[in-house]
Assembly symmetry: C2
Homo-oligomer: 496 residues x 2
């Protein structure tokens, strides 16, 4: 036989691609439960589910990402065998536009739809920034009525309370892009100077961080930031910047005053006045339904950075405080946002179709619920039936089946049963509440041992003598026939 | 101003890529409900959820697709900015192997996990064959005990009954790849002649279609198929083929006889006898738990085409009849399958890790449930509150809010309210059970009209005179204060 030179085996790395991650146990069920609660609210509001594929043609997605502020913006794209370019969807809105254009004759108009699922961004991953993440959207396509915007704001408020954010811990802020457009028109900024307008939007978006004085500098010549770097300004004159600042700080104690301040800021601009009228309508509709300023407010400082919004914009912020990386208190911040966009379907059909919608940042909302203790971080483990006698697997399987049929999560130990300590270590790793033990002796006497594993762990940390240990009820002998009833009691005790 | 030549606008096509599709309304909620039922069973059996990303490195996925029989096999793959190749997952098993290799020190062993979600195949699309579809898997990694295989068979049976396939309408068939290996060993086919062994597997897989005589020809020299084409055979001699055929038809009325037949077929092969012993253990475990031959049977004709199975294999078939495309009766067929595979993790770590698992074909099972009338094909529409007076949107929104708060799916009409007929057409398209109408006159009198839309549609087809029409209760006037109670009654009547 010829001697074969042994090659070094090249093994694949057991890692996901950079920027992707796995979710285990409670993280999966917790998110699933939250998404179910959200979509239940959406459904009750008359929104219909839509599930589009993960993959779209690049031409249908368009060449742009909505948020032009991100570095390395982009999609994951590749060529089909027919040389056609395909890409993973980067949001839920672009596929909705494609679907509405495709099925516009069959869909009801207005079309209310919700969608949830992963989206993908080909961006540089960073801490907490992944290239696949969940979105949960609701949009109304085909209604120009601002009642559609008001409805989504109300629904957003209901949704947050349904998933477990108490009233007072969140606020939905509403503004209207038309009002800002009116202000810019009034100060003589041409409507087609989108670069300057976008720069103004991005500057206003920094209000939270840099305050009125900072925004004033950034709208004008620029400013030195905290690190000493000079940030170029938008280049507005003082006369142009002041009405923008007046607009920005026009939020007053009540809506009527806010609207009055806005009227001053827009001067005589017709677009601006129309925008204020829309806001007034939204406010009236929400007030009539009982959504007061403790839930939804009109706040001109909300502009949302995206260039494509054309009317009302809205954002849900969580107002409770958390500690940031450096141990400083800060508000949790935005978990959802959206607004009116009228141009997306036009790309396909040439017709302008009014639409408005919201997107919930699923991962941020989940993080908030964990922060509030509304979602357990650990899953409940199953009852583990241990294997004392490997020839009696059928006996143990029967116990497991009895427990399951009674609705109790349960499993048999399927590893090598030789070392009993390993079985208990396994039960521990599974976060199992109860272990069931039946040796030959117990079998003969018609009994089983059940062990409260959580209590056992606490006791073994506290108890010092063997006598104390024996006196403790962490393990008890029960009749075989009482298995289900006694295990259920022990679980209830462990949870109570 | 310079004259700009008008270019013809090139609009994107409003279509998904070939082989991809959208799911609307009831199709989304029906699948979601079924997946929830399946994963509830998996969870009760102690399986933990795992969600891996859609994207893996190509090296982690491996270069092969499991099912070598398909044309244009392949994955959707592309290069990262670092030139690393990434791809969409083609199943749930390859990512599981990667995860187990990556987290083996943190995960419990054995590790029971379930996963559900879309997978992608870069294949030629065809009628009913899509390039994105759902799988719902459960696997046990790290147990060599055939009790793990028995457990999955039992779980599969429970799952099918839970989603709505009655006992008697399905059967789980179990076999063991080792038995066939024993037969092939006994007839002198070398263990390393995987090409011939795979060809034998594929031939046995055709048993359903071509019968014993057909398999005999295909194991030997080949045969003429119905179209007149000659299909090459595997090339076994008669002496080699007969034991394979004996194996194939060894299923008897009871398990003991089946096992006796198998013992004859494997001759003295040690591997074969070991395989039969495993099957006996599986049979005993299932019998002890009450899973009789009406639910799970040992059936040597089940081999499953995939080369990578190393031990027990299992398949769930639906046995009720449906009409095929040509109107002929045939059994619905396979909806789930799986088996034991011991080599997948080895690619990463060099260590052999025993594993066994099942994959449910979600779309086929859904189709079966529709066939059995277990899943509604149409979603329940919302109550539609119509808009008679556009200045009173707040009144209508209040009605909608009352209905929703009572748990009734409801919405306001958000289109242009001018044409009332359009509002009723819209309600019709929404499959709305009830429309609510409140004009100025009703408002003054403190009443509203509610209209039973389903009944209205039936009546308008049957009724001929205006008098009859008026006498019918399809529309009724109720007190405004009774809105929720009366709408609830009308929906109950429509559903009852």
């Amino acid at each position: 036989m010829a001697k074969i030179k042994k090659k070094k085996v090249q093994r694949p790395k057991a890692l996901p691609p950079k920027g992707f991650r796995d979710y285990f146990g409670g993280d999966v069920t917790g998110r699933g439960e939250m998404l179910r609660q959200i979509t239940d609210v959406y459904y009750r509001y008359g929104f219909d589910p839509l599930e589009t594929p993960a993959v779209e043609t690049v031409e249908a997605l368009g060449k742009f990402l909505p948020d032009v502020d991100r570095p390395n913006e982009g999609v994951f794209a590749w060529q089909d065998e027919d040389d056609a370019w395909m890409a993973l969807r980067y949001d839920m809105t672009a596929p909705l536009a494609r679907v509405f254009a495709q099925f516009r004759n069959d869909l009801p108009t207005p079309y209310r739809r919700y969608a949830m699922g992963p989206v993908w961004r080909n961006e540089k991953p960073g801490p907490g920034r992944y290239r696949q993440f969940y979105q949960c959207d609701a949009d109304t396509v085909g209604s120009a009525n601002v009642a559609a915007d008001a409805e989504i704001c109300a629904m957003l408020s209901d949704t947050l309370e349904t998933v477990g954010i108490p009233r007072g811990d969140y606020i939905v802020r509403v503004n209207n892009r038309k009002v800002l457009n009116g202000v810019l028109e009034a100060v003589g900024l041409p409507a087609d100077d989108t670069a300057t307008r976008d720069a103004v939007l991005r500057t206003i978006d920094k209000f939270d961080k840099v305050g009125v004085a900072g925004v004033r500098e950034l709208l004008g010549k620029g400013r030195l930031d905290a690190s000493g770097a000079y940030i170029d300004g938008v280049g507005l004159s003082n006369d142009q910047a002041e009405p923008v600042l007046a607009f920005l700080v026009s939020k007053a104690d009540d809506t009527a005053k806010t609207l009055a301040n806005l009227r001053d800021a827009v001067g005589g601009s017709a677009a601006g006045l129309q925008g204020i009228e829309d806001l007034e309508k939204i406010g009236d509709l929400l007030t009539a339904q009982g959504y007061g300023a403790d839930r939804i407010v009109i706040d001109p400082s909300v502009v949302r950075g995206l260039g494509y919004y054309t009317g009302p914009v809205y954002e849900a912020e969580l107002t409770f405080e958390i500690l940031d990386d450096k141990g400083r208190k800060r508000q949790f911040g935005s978990v959802a946002g959206g607004g009116r966009y009228d141009d997306l379907v036009k790309r396909f059909t040439g017709q302008e179709v009014p639409a408005t919608g919201v997107s919930i940042g699923v991962d941020r909302l989940l993080a908030a619920l964990r922060e509030k203790g509304r979602i357990g971080t650990t899953a409940k483990g199953p009852v583990v039936v241990t294997v004392m006698d490997r020839d009696r697997m059928a006996d143990y399987q029967t116990m497991v089946a009895e427990l399951r049929n009674a609705g109790i999560r349960a499993e048999i130990y399927l590893g090598n049963p030789k070392n009993f300590g390993n079985q208990l270590k396994y039960a521990d790793k599974r976060a199992s509440p109860v272990a069931v033990i039946e040796g030959g002796d117990e079998k003969e006497r018609g009994v089983v041992q059940i062990k409260d594993l959580a209590l056992g762990a606490r006791l073994s940390a506290e108890i010092e003598t063997t006598e104390e240990w024996k006196a403790q009820p962490a393990q008890m002998e029960i009749k075989r026939g009482d298995l289900v009833a006694e295990v259920r009691k022990m679980i209830a005790r462990a949870e109570g």
